[in-house]
Structure formats: structure tokens, C-alpha cells
Symmetry: C2
Subunit: 332 residues, 2 copies
Amino acid sequence: MKTQQIVLASRPIGTPTLTNFRFEDVVLPEMNDDEIQLNTLYLSVDPYMRGRMNDAKSYTPPFEVDKPIEGAGVAKVTASKSEKFNVGDYVYGRLPWRIHTVGASKEFIKIDVSVAPLSYYLGILGMTGLTAYFGLMDIGKPKAGETVVVSGAAGAVGLMVGQIAKIMGCRVVGITGSDQKVKLLKEEFKFDEVINYKTTQHLEKSIERSCPDGVDIYFDNVGGVISDAVIRNINFHGRIPLCGQISLYNSSTEPYGPRLQPILLTRSVLLQGFIINDFQSHFPEAMQQLITWVKEKRLINSETIIQGFNQLPVAFLGLFEGQNTGKMVVEL
Amino acid sequence: MKTQQIVLASRPIGTPTLTNFRFEDVVLPEMNDDEIQLNTLYLSVDPYMRGRMNDAKSYTPPFEVDKPIEGAGVAKVTASKSEKFNVGDYVYGRLPWRIHTVGASKEFIKIDVSVAPLSYYLGILGMTGLTAYFGLMDIGKPKAGETVVVSGAAGAVGLMVGQIAKIMGCRVVGITGSDQKVKLLKEEFKFDEVINYKTTQHLEKSIERSCPDGVDIYFDNVGGVISDAVIRNINFHGRIPLCGQISLYNSSTEPYGPRLQPILLTRSVLLQGFIINDFQSHFPEAMQQLITWVKEKRLINSETIIQGFNQLPVAFLGLFEGQNTGKMVVEL
């Protein structure tokens, strides 16, 4: 069977461009025992994937040049040599950027389609939701009445963090990059304050004004100068779940900035880098909580769905220009 | 009664000098009820005191200009209007830089002189010991076989951290600033490896060579370029107790350096600023453990004792030139 895939044509230096991707026709291998054949329906594009394009040690190995990009996806089973799955089942898992694929059944999880639309499993009920949940709840440990600042607030994780922090009874201040997103976060997602970092005169002072009691939790999705400004407002015993550093991912030189350790030291601040696998043993409870909140309509899904397999590279590049609100997903 | 004191004459800009201190004669006030009169025997000089010389918000309020410097000290009770203390008792507490003083009895703790020499209560059995203990044990959470790197390794806290890490069965690598200290740390304190950061050609590579399995815990006393080099070698799930940043304390401009959050993020690293008061409820157990180790001779005290009240400013300034090995104490 013939299909199409997208491979990493070359490692980007600085900001990736379309030339770093290449479309290819491939012939699928025959299925072996315990394998399934899949028709990919949705693929997730996420900022962390930029890191995998570099040839650098990280928590996931780098993408290989001339091999397909891969990421989270949802697919339908079209043929099965596994007892675990029947034709017609929907599955979630790590998928190559390919229209059809063949994979080991143990790598996939069956989706209950009665719970939520399929794309939710790439966002609110997927890695995004779990990332927001564990970062905020297990590292941030929010208490009612505390102030939570989240950067990249209209991004996939940011939107979830803000909503969960509101459920926890916190004052939530978002930082984002357009007036349209400011309006959305305030009106639809009930953020208490939202700052447009691109138009504010003095970000550090804006944060100070928006957080009269200081910042208890800073959920950091972006890094760089935005984080510098928030951290200068952090409270004694503040917590910083370190989730993303999107503002630095496309740096072609090592980024420099003020040394903030003296602030972290004198204010007894916790800063914790994390990936969701650190919390793997708690996935079931977390998923159950997220599903409950979704059913209670206390968590609203927000996604930017781009149509068409051939739009995958464009959708990915759009992440770095803030083109998405909520989870960016490509529907094949 | 007349006595002598040392006040902050002016706030230092950058590195402090002797002109920032002034000696004064003062008359002690009469004792009130529940107060004691003290003859100060030992005063501690510590790097954190540099921060209190600035007019900046921190975990302790700044020293006031024209008021006495204050810090940890050991004194003998010379008169008492308190039921808690008798004349001749030895006490530990926060003391002004003054030969004689009068203070509220509730601010002092009686010392059991049978346990250890008096000066130990400013070091191994005092704030220094507790800082090393809680930073390493409660934040670092060392496991046998792990690699612990400690900067400022021959300093008061560093020497304790290294020894406790060895008791815990860790491989211990120290970073220090003279060949004499390298020798001492290896021979007397059984550090596995010690790096002289002033003479090594490439600190990051030296650390890599000294830590073939990477760095699991980095106990940071110094900050700046030394910490940059260690953090580049930190392992997945590494822990960084952030205890001091002595290399930055005398900066007159805001220090800049590489942004290391991407490393902390991709390696799921914990960085935690702390002061010992964060662990106040656990002081008794910790003290008991430290005393046991001292009695078992598994923890060796190391102190640099400078003689004479009038040497206090000189001893303090010496901290920033690495003139001490172990705890720097002034004996009046």
C-alpha cells in the first residue's frame, strides 16, 4: 500500500522554514503479528518538537534527518493482526507524519469515543491537559486565593492552566501576544487579568499592577524576557513549574539574560522542570479528573484545527508566531 | 556600662571596604525584666550578610546605616533578670557586633557546653550545619551512589555538605579556589575529586571528567560561571539546592549569563532556593543527627578563627576572597 509522509529534510538553524520538511511517497510494510494498520485522522503539532529537530540530548531523542517527523496523533484502525484492536477502533499514540501507517499494537491506546470528540485526545484530554494538570497541581500546588501567572496563556497548555487555576480558586493573570487573545481569555475563559506583552510599556510593572499581592505561582511556557519580568514579581515561597521556553527554541546562539538565581534564593522559590512522563503513575486519576471537569463544563476545550495533511509544516511553523489559540491540531 | 560596637557606616556599592564600617563607643542601657546582659565571645561572619548591607527586600531586613551590624554569636551571661538564664550560662543567638550587650532572654538559646566547643554552635552545630543538612537532605535527597557536586567546597557550608554527602554514600566532587584547599578537601575530608576553578583550563569539561555519570545533585553556594558549568552537566531529574550566590553578591550591576532554563526543563531538574527557617519545625531532629555524627567523628569541624573584635570587618571582607577554610568565626 502506498502512502505519503513528511520527513525532516534538514535540521533548522534558528527559526525553521518549509525547506526543512520534505514530502515523500512511501510503500507501507506488510503487517506482522500484533501490529495494526492505521488511517491517521489528527496529528498534533507542539512547540517541544522544535527541540527534537536539533541534534541535542533531551528527554526525547532527536528526529533523524530523512526520517518522518513524529508526534501525538489519533487514528482509525483499518486492519488488525492484534487481539487488542478491531477494525474501526480509534486509537491514540505516537504517530509518524504519514497518512497511513503500520505500528505495534502495544504502542497505542484505545479511545472511548463516547467521552469526547477525537481531537480532545490531543488537547484537553491528552498530553496538553496532563501537562497543565501535573505542572500546576503537583508542582505549583495552588491554594485558593493565591495568584497564578501563566505565560503563553492562549496556547494549548496555558489555556488549560488558567482554567484549572480558576477551578482551584486562584486569581489568574495571563500573558499573551494579541488584543484579540486578551479579550478571549478575559471573556470566555474568565482570566482575572490579561497582559498583552507586545503592547505593554513596561512588562514588569504591568505584572506588579495586575498582581497586587505578588505572584505565588508562575507557570512558565515561554522563558526569556517575559519570564524575567514575572520572576522579579515572585513571592516568598513562590513556585515555578517550568513547562516550556518557546521564546528561546529558535535561538541560533545561546540566549543570555539576567541571572535570576539571587531572587530565587532570597525568596525560597521552587523552580521545577518537568515532562509529563515524570508523573506517569498518576495518569489515570488525572485523566479522570480532567474528564469530570470537561463533563461539568468547568474546562472548555479550545483548539485551532488546520485542515489537510499537507498543512502540517505550516501549522507547526505557526506555533512560533502565536497563530493558534488553544491546541493546534491538523485534521487529515 | 560602656562598650564598643561596629555600625554600618554606609552601604557598599560593589565590593565592601573597611570604610563601610565604623567603630563606636556606646553606653549599654539598663536591663529590664526578662533581659540578660551578655559578654560576647564569638561572632559569625557569613556571606549572606552582604545582602543585608543593600537596601533591598530579602528574607531578612536590610541592616540600617549607623546601626550595629548583627549576626549569629555565642555569649556568656554576665547578669540576668530572667528566670531562664543564670550568670555564667553560655547562649547562642543573634547578636549585634558589640563587645557587651543587653537582650531579651527569649531571643537566646542555652548551649550545653559538654557537647562541643562553643564555636561549633556557629558552624557545624549552628546555622551552617543546619543549612548544609536541610539543603542536601531535604532538597537534594541524596541516594547512595549518586554524584554530588558542591561549589564553595572549602567554605563553611560546602565542607559540611561534602561530608554529609559522603556519609550518605555519594560520590562527592568539590569546586574550590586554591590548590591548598584541593589538597585539604581530598586528604582530610575525603572528597572523591576536587577542582580548582581558578587553574582549570575548561571548567565544564573538568566537571564532566570528574563526574563520569553526570551530576545528580548540585549544591550551589556560589552562582555565576561556576554554576553555569556544573548545570551543563546536570543529569535528568537532577536537584539543585540553591544556598548561596557569593560570586554575585558584590556585583554593582545586574549580573548576566546564559539562560539555563532550557536545560532545567529538558532534564526535569529541580532548583530550590531556601533558607533554614523554611525547615524550622525539623531543627531538633537535624541537630540531634548532626551531634551524633560529630560524636561518631563522621563530621569533622573546620573553622578559621580570627582573633579580636576589631578584626570583624577584615574577617567579613576575607570571605569574598576565599580566605577562610570552613566556618569563619571571630573570637572576641
